[in-house]
């Protein structure tokens, strides 16, 4: 009995030590999360498609900048029309900013005319930590081959000012357009900016 307990403990310990960590140019670690409509999604469900992960917190001023300006929704619409899967992920813990009921999420998403594929709830922060998500927004792009090809900020203007959206260098657009042109992604990482993820 003790032997079995020790074995299980070791398996759990080793599993946690060697938990997958998202790394550029390596296979993106798989995950399974439930969306705001109660549907379950795994990253592996979208094999063969380019996938964007967008860390979100509707009350963060940096997220507001990109939603109030419609920048984020326009990107979502433009690329989901091209068969990109766009997953907004919220890793706000219970009681923390950005953690809403499913009803409230859907209400806010509708108000913003959000065009993502799904809004995934990562309340225990497991997926956020697996991907090293630090800020909202924090953007990741996974190629159709399942490889992480971009991690970083949405653009190069680390401000909360809506006026700065115009003229910013948008790294997500740049990376996705390069993928669609059959090129390799030229800027694979940038410094993310925003509110801290509320783990």
């Amino acid at each position: 009995m003790i032997r079995k307990f020790v074995f299980l403990f070791l398996v759990a310990f080793i599993g946690s030590v060697f938990a997958q960590k998202a790394t550029l140019n390596e296979s993106a670690p798989d995950f399974k999360l439930v969306d705001s409509n109660g549907n379950e999604h795994s990253l592996s469900d979208f094999a063969g498609k380019n996938v964007v992960l967008e860390w979100i917190n509707y009350d963060c001023p940096f997220v507001k900048k990109h939603y109030d300006s419609k920048n984020m929704q326009n990107l979502q619409a433009k690329y989901t029309e091209k068969d990109v899967v766009w997953l907004a992920i919220c890793s706000s813990n219970k009681g923390k900013q950005g953690n809403f009921s499913a009803e409230e999420i859907n209400k806010r998403s509708k108000k913003h005319d959000a065009n993502f594929t799904a809004y995934l709830i990562d309340e225990n922060g497991k997926v956020g930590k697996m991907y090293g998500a630090k800020t909202t927004p924090h953007m990741y792009i996974i190629s159709a081959e399942g490889v992480l090809v971009y991690a970083g900020g949405i653009d190069d203007k680390a401000t909360t000012d809506v006026k700065d959206v115009k003229g910013a260098k948008n790294y997500v657009t740049l990376a996705l357009d390069e993928l669609f042109s059959g090129k390799s992604v030229s800027i694979q990482s940038s410094t993310p900016y925003g509110c801290s993820v509320k783990y």
Binding site: D59, P61, K129, G152, T160, D161, S196, K198
Partner: protein, 276 residues
């Protein structure tokens, strides 16, 4: 002559009425203060942007760390006047849920040198600072404000005691740029080892030691940096950011010693070392 004097006084009063009130936005306020000066002796005036925060709120350093936003200040000055880069007092490192940020709580005075042109006629001048920043506790809000003040250049100025204390504290918290630290680095795949020999420090008194980079995105932001004593040298390990934006060419930022004495005193140095 009298009319001219009246107009001058009126102008000065009008400018002062615009400027004297500290600009307040929600949980923080900002104002411009300046140190004592005598233009006969020195054409440079030390000014400060005093930012005061409600309890539990913080504002960010030039490198905000894992989240937040760098504080930035643009000045509007009369023609011919120039101002230095901001001199940043050493920030505090905060860590929440494994994410590290660098900034200031309660109060900070950001310093800059204002240079008065030689040929200036010494009329009062108005200077304006446009502050762009973010303040956070468990939530964050933008703190963007414009503050102005008037400086009477015709007369010497002696600052009040309360403000003198702020300038002294801010100066004491600036990093030492000229020092005799022997600093070298050894690069590994995912980390860098800084080998430090500091003749001003007794290694046995160091409680913690950490490096805060000026630029974000290359080194892992952390307040939990490991160091060991190796004879008279200290070896500090700094990890690279897992998603670093480029391979580091230099290590540039602050080296902060915290001592194990009762008041947990600090010593802060600026370090700049090329990486081969």
């Amino acid at each position: 002559m009298l009319l001219r004097k009246i107009i001058q006084i009126f102008l000065l009063l009008a400018l002062l009425s615009v400027s004297l009130t500290a600009q307040t936005r929600s949980n923080a306020s900002a104002q411009i203060v300046f140190d004592s000066y005598s233009l006969e002796i020195n054409r440079t005036i030390l000014i400060g942007i005093l930012i005061e925060l409600e309890n539990d709120w913080h504002i960010y350093w030039r490198n905000p760390g894992d989240s937040g936003m760098p504080t930035s200040i643009d000045f509007d000055l009369p023609d011919g006047f120039t101002i230095s880069e901001i001199k940043w007092p050493a920030p505090k490192a905060f860590e929440y849920d494994g994410l590290a940020s660098y900034g200031y709580e309660k109060q900070v005075l950001l310093l800059a040198d204002l240079s008065v042109p030689e040929n200036y006629n010494l009329n009062p001048i108005k200077i304006t600072a446009n502050l762009k920043s973010l303040i956070c506790k468990d939530v964050c809000i933008p703190f963007n404000t414009t503050v102005s003040t008037v400086i009477d250049l015709a007369n010497n100025f002696m600052v009040e005691d309360q403000i003198i204390r702020l300038f002294i504290d801010a100066r004491n918290n600036l990093p030492e740029v000229k020092h005799n630290i022997d600093f070298s680095v050894k690069v590994d795949d995912e980390l860098i080892t800084c080998i430090i020999q500091n003749p001003e420090i007794n290694p046995a008194e160091i409680e913690s030691l950490y490096f805060l980079p000026y630029d974000n995105g290359i080194f892992k932001n952390s307040i939990d940096q490991k160091f060991i004593q190796n004879e008279n040298k200290t070896e500090l390990t700094v990890e690279f950011d897992h998603f670093r934006i480029e391979e580091p060419k230099e290590i540039y930022g602050l080296l902060i010693y915290v001592f194990g004495n009762l008041d947990k005193s600090k010593k802060v140095y600026e370090i700049k070392q090329l990486i081969n």
